[in-house]
Amino acid sequence: MKKKAQEEMVGFVLIMLVVAVVFLVFLGIYLRQATNAEPTSSAEISQFLEAAFEITTECGTPFPRKLRDVILMCDTGIANCPLTGEDPCVILKETMENVIKSSWVFAENSPTKGYVLDITRETTTGPVSVLNEPIFGGEISCRQYRSAAKPLPDGITMKLEICL
């Protein structure tokens, strides 16, 4: 009688263990999904990039170039801005940093924590950064991202990720 009761107890504990393991597997899958969140496509950021391409920059004043032309000039690296002689890559970096910081507030208590902007050109060996390195600000390692990319001629793509 005592042995049978012990067997029953062992069976009960085994069932509890199986239930606990199944629950842990579910929890693990859920947490992995949450932490490895892929950046979700954002119409707002897409619109931001589209509007930003049209901005008149300081490059070449009083015959200033649009941002899209400055990106192409920076990529070719051949010429400086006409008349002013400034480096188009410096103008590009400054303009984009200012526009992004004027459009969103990046702070710990803000809905947007940080950003990463990368301008790349597609080559046979893979994408190459036009600005040598991405432009970033605020907190950039976070659980959720919103992002969008916009293409330009010559295989150039501008991609912006906003950390939430």
Binding site: F12, A51, E54, I55, F63, P64, S103
Partner: protein
């Protein structure tokens, strides 16, 4: 004696079953909790995406209307004509007749504007906001949709003094009419 043993065994069985039922209930409750939290997160994301798409749609609709569209040059079809918007703001009733909105404002974001509303022509071009439709009294700004836009305006100082269009960066704010 036999009855007492049987009763104890039965009690043990009932207890075991009760524990089992509780464990199964807790398990299913936890699974349901995980499932609902995942589906709620997806729902929130979908709602956010729909809100963004709606704002984008509205911005493209407004920038496509002849009253605001930049038509002087063909190199920016999605731009809003800042000068037209200012002219419209001079008579708020025009905006109210044209669009079924409670609030319509165009905000300059870049280059950094001066913190003031564009009210008279001398405020241009450094002012920040053009209010085409003013918010009715007692109406809050909650529910306002915003979208990024390019703003085009004539700048006489460009092209060596002969003037050219300058493209700036801005935002359009709209609030649907209260039903």
């Amino acid at each position: 004696m036999y009855n007492v043993i049987c009763s104890k065994k039965a009690q043990m069985k009932i207890q075991q079953m009760a524990f089992m039922l509780v464990a199964v209930m807790i398990f299913f409750a936890m699974v349901a909790l995980v499932y609902f939290s995942i589906s709620t997160a997806n729902l929130r994301e979908t709602a956010e995406q729909l809100r963004e798409e709606e704002a984008q749609e509205l911005a493209s609709q407004l920038s496509g209307t002849p009253e605001l569209a930049f038509t002087a040059s063909s190199d920016c079809s999605a731009c809003i004509d800042f000068d037209k918007a200012f002219a419209l703001s001079q008579n708020p009733n025009h905006g109210k007749k044209l669009w079924n909105l409670d609030f319509l404002m165009i905000e300059r974001i870049y280059p950094d504007p001066v913190e003031k509303t564009c009210l008279i022509p001398s405020d241009l071009p450094d002012c920040k906001n053009i209010r085409i439709i003013n918010l009715p009294e007692g109406r809050g700004l909650s529910g306002t949709k915003t979208a990024f836009v390019s703003l085009a305006r004539w700048d006489a100082s460009l092209a060596g003094g002969s003037g050219d269009y300058k493209y700036e960066f801005g935002k359009i704010h709209t609030l649907a009419k209260n039903p």
